[in-house]
C-alpha cells in the first residue's frame, strides 16, 4: 500500500512539473565485455593456412570473409557463423549451435557441423555436413554434399557444449529454394574416399598438433550414406531409448554391427523426441510408452545382408546386459519397411519448424 501511495504521489509531482521520466532499460548486452573482433574474424587472406585452436572461440559468433585459396580450420564450438565472398578455400567449422550461412562463395570445400545450414549465391562447393535440421540452398549451383567425418580429441566435448547431437544428421536431404528445370543444383556423394581426396588437413605445426583425422571409423559423427532410399536391400530400424548410457550404447552398436557385417551401411541416423501417439504408430504397441518418455530416441536405419538378424542379436545382448529394454529392432522383415517409413516420416515432421 505504501508503495502504491508513493507512486501516486510521485506521479502527481511529475504531472505538476509537466515532465515524465523514462529510465532507459539496460540489457545484458549493454554491460557485456567488448571482445576483440579480430579474435573471431578471419578476413582478407590469400594463400595462407590459418585457424583457431580448441578453447579460443568458446561459443562466440564467428565471421569468415573475403578469403582466397586458403585453408581455414576452426577447431572449437561456435554460436553462429557467416562465410562470405570466399573462393578456393578449405574450411573446417567446429560444432555450431545456430546457423552456418555461406554467401557468395565458390570452389570451396567445407566440413561443418551445425544447427542450420544455409547458402545463397554459391557455386561449386563440396560440403561435408552434419546438420540438425534440413539444409537449404538458394541461388546455388553445383553443390555436392557428403557426411561429416572428423576426429580430434576435444571434438566430442565441443559437440556437447554446442548442444549439437552427433546422431541427428540430415546432411543428404537438401531443400532448394531455387530449383532449375532440367538441372540439379545439388547432389550427394556417398563415398568415404571422396573426403580425403578433396579435404586437406592442416600442415602448419600448431594447427596440425590438434590431431585432426578424417578416418570415418574414428569419426565423432557416425558415417551415414544418406539419400537415396534403401531400395531392395534388407533394412532394419534400430531405436535406442534414452538413458545415461544411450550415446555410448549407440556407438557400441555401430562398431559391433560393422564387426559382424563388413559391408553393412548406416543409411540414416536421427535423434528425435517421440510422443506416445507417435510411438504407438511406429511400434504398433503402447509397450514403449514409458521408454520414449525418458527423452529423445536415437534411431539408425541399417542396411545389409541378414541385417535384421544381426541387429536383433546385438540389441538383445544390450537389453540383457542392462536388464531393461534399451534397444528396439524391427524384427519382422515383412512389416519393417512400413515401420521404417512411419518413423522417418515422423522424424521429418518434427523438423517442419
Amino acid at each position: 500500500m505504501g508503495c502504491l501511495h508513493a507512486k501516486i504521489k510521485k506521479h502527481d509531482t511529475e504531472q505538476e512539473k509537466g515532465i515524465t521520466i523514462e529510465v532507459p532499460k539496460t540489457y545484458t548486452w549493454d554491460k557485456k565485455e567488448k571482445v576483440n573482433p579480430a579474435d573471431f574474424t578471419i578476413e582478407n587472406i590469400s594463400n595462407r593456412e590459418i585457424g583457431r585452436l580448441p578453447g579460443t572461440i568458446s561459443g562466440q559468433q564467428f565471421i569468415i570473409q573475403n578469403c582466397q585459396a586458403s585453408q581455414i580450420y576452426l577447431f572449437d564450438h561456435i554460436n553462429t557463423i557467416t562465410v562470405d565472398d570466399c573462393s578456393d578455400c578449405i574450411i573446417f567449422v567446429g560444432p555450431t549451435t545456430g546457423s552456418l550461412f555461406l554467401r557468395d562463395c565458390q570452389d570451396c570445400v567445407v566440413m561443418a557441423a551445425c544447427g542450420q545450414f544455409r547458402t545463397r549465391d554459391c557455386c561449386k562447393m563440396d560440403i561435408f555436413l552434419l546438420c540438425q535440421t534440413q539444409p537449404i540452398i538458394e541461388a546455388s549451383a553445383k553443390m555436392r554434399f557428403g557426411c561429416f567425418q572428423a576426429f580430434y580429441p576435444q571434438l566430442k566435448d565441443q559437440f556437447r557444449s554446442a548442444g549439437i547431437s552427433v546422431f541427428n544428421n540430415n546432411w543428404s536431404n537438401i531443400h532448394d529454394f531455387t530449383p532449375v528445370d532440367g538441372e540439379t543444383n545439388w547432389s550427394c556423394v556417398s563415398q568415404t574416399t571422396k573426403l580425403s581426396q578433396v579435404f586437406k588437413l592442416p600442415e602448419e605445426d600448431e594447427l596440425k598438433s590438434v590431431g585432426m583425422t578424417l578416418d570415418h571409423n574414428l569419426s565423432i559423427v557416425p558415417y551415414t550414406y544418406g539419400s537415396p532410399g534403401y531400395g531392395s536391400q534388407e533394412a532394419a530400424l534400430v531405436i535406442m531409448f534414452c538413458d545415461e548410457s544411450q550415446h555410448q550404447r549407440a556407438m557400441k552398436f555401430i562398431s559391433s554391427l560393422k564387426a559382424q557385417v563388413v559391408d553393412c551401411k548406416i543409411q540414416h541416423s536421427r535423434e528425435v523426441k517421440m510422443e506416445a501417439t507417435d510411438a504407438q504408430r511406429v511400434f504398433h504397441t503402447s509397450e514403449y510408452k514409458s521408454a520414449i518418455s525418458q527423452g529423445p530416441v536415437i534411431a539408425f536405419l541399417c542396411l545389409g545382408n541378414d541385417i535384421t538378424q544381426v541387429c536383433s542379436t546385438i540389441g538383445q545382448e544390450m537389453n540383457d546386459a542392462s536388464g531393461n529394454t534399451v534397444v528396439y529392432v524391427t524384427s519382422d522383415v515383412n512389416t519393417s519397411n512400413k515401420q521404417i517409413d512411419t518413423f522417418f516420416s515422423y522424424a521429418s515432421m518434427t523438423m517442419t519448424m
Partner: protein
C-alpha cells in the same frame, strides 16, 4: 494480480483477435522469435520453407502471429499475407552487417505497400548477444527510421534466443493495439 486489473479482466469481452505479421530477411531469427513468443523450445529450429503461425495470448489479446520465410526467392510472396494485418514486426539480424542495406531496402518496400499503410511497425534489432551486433540506435539511424511519419514505429533491441527484450517489444505492440 492487482484488484484493478482483475476487475478489468472480468469486465472485458472475450479476447480481441489480432493479426501480426512477422517479416525480415532469411536467418534474421523470425521463427525463433515466434517460438519464444509462444514460450516454446527454440532448439532445432528449421529454416522456414513456407510460413508458420501461432496464437499467443497477451494482455487480453489473442495475437495470431504469422511468420513468413525470408529467402530472396520467396519475398515476392510476402504481399499475399498483408491483408488485415494489425501490426507488422520486422526482424533484423543485427550481426549481419553485410546485409544491412538489403534488409533496409526490403523494409522500405514493405512500408510503401498500400495494404500496410498506417500499420504500426515494430523493428526487432535481434541477435544483440553477438559480438558483431550493431546497437539498435545505429540500426535506426542506418535505416533512417526517423523519416517514418505515416505510422507509429518502435525499434527494440532483443535476443530471441535468450528472450531478452522480446517482452518489451510485445508490450509496445499491445499498447499500440489498445490505442486503436
Amino acid at each position: 494480480m492487482g484488484l484493478l486489473s482483475l476487475l478489468r479482466k472480468l469486465k472485458s469481452a472475450p479476447d480481441q483477435e489480432l493479426r501480426i505479421l512477422l517479416l525480415g530477411l532469411d536467418n534474421a531469427g523470425k521463427t525463433t522469435l515466434l517460438k519464444k513468443l509462444a514460450s516454446e523450445d527454440i532448439t532445432q529450429t528449421t529454416p522456414t520453407q513456407g510460413f508458420n503461425i501461432k496464437s499467443v495470448q497477451s494482455d487480453g489479446f489473442k495475437l495470431n502471429v504469422w511468420d513468413i520465410g525470408g529467402q530472396r526467392k520467396i519475398r515476392p510472396y510476402w504481399r499475399n499475407y498483408f491483408e488485415n494485418t494489425d501490426v507488422l514486426i520486422y526482424v533484423i539480424d543485427s550481426g549481419d552487417r553485410k546485409r544491412f542495406e538489403e534488409t533496409g531496402q526490403e523494409l522500405g518496400e514493405i512500408l510503401s505497400e498500400e495494404k500496410l499503410a498506417g500499420i504500426p511497425v515494430l523493428i526487432f534489432a535481434n541477435k544483440q548477444d553477438l559480438f558483431n551486433a550493431a546497437p539498435a540506435s545505429e540500426i535506426a539511424e542506418g535505416l533512417q527510421l526517423h523519416t517514418i511519419r505515416d505510422r507509429t514505429w518502435q525499434i527494440q533491441a532483443c535476443s530471441a534466443t535468450s528472450g531478452e527484450g522480446v517482452k518489451d517489444g510485445l508490450d509496445w505492440v499491445c499498447k499500440n493495439l489498445k490505442k486503436k
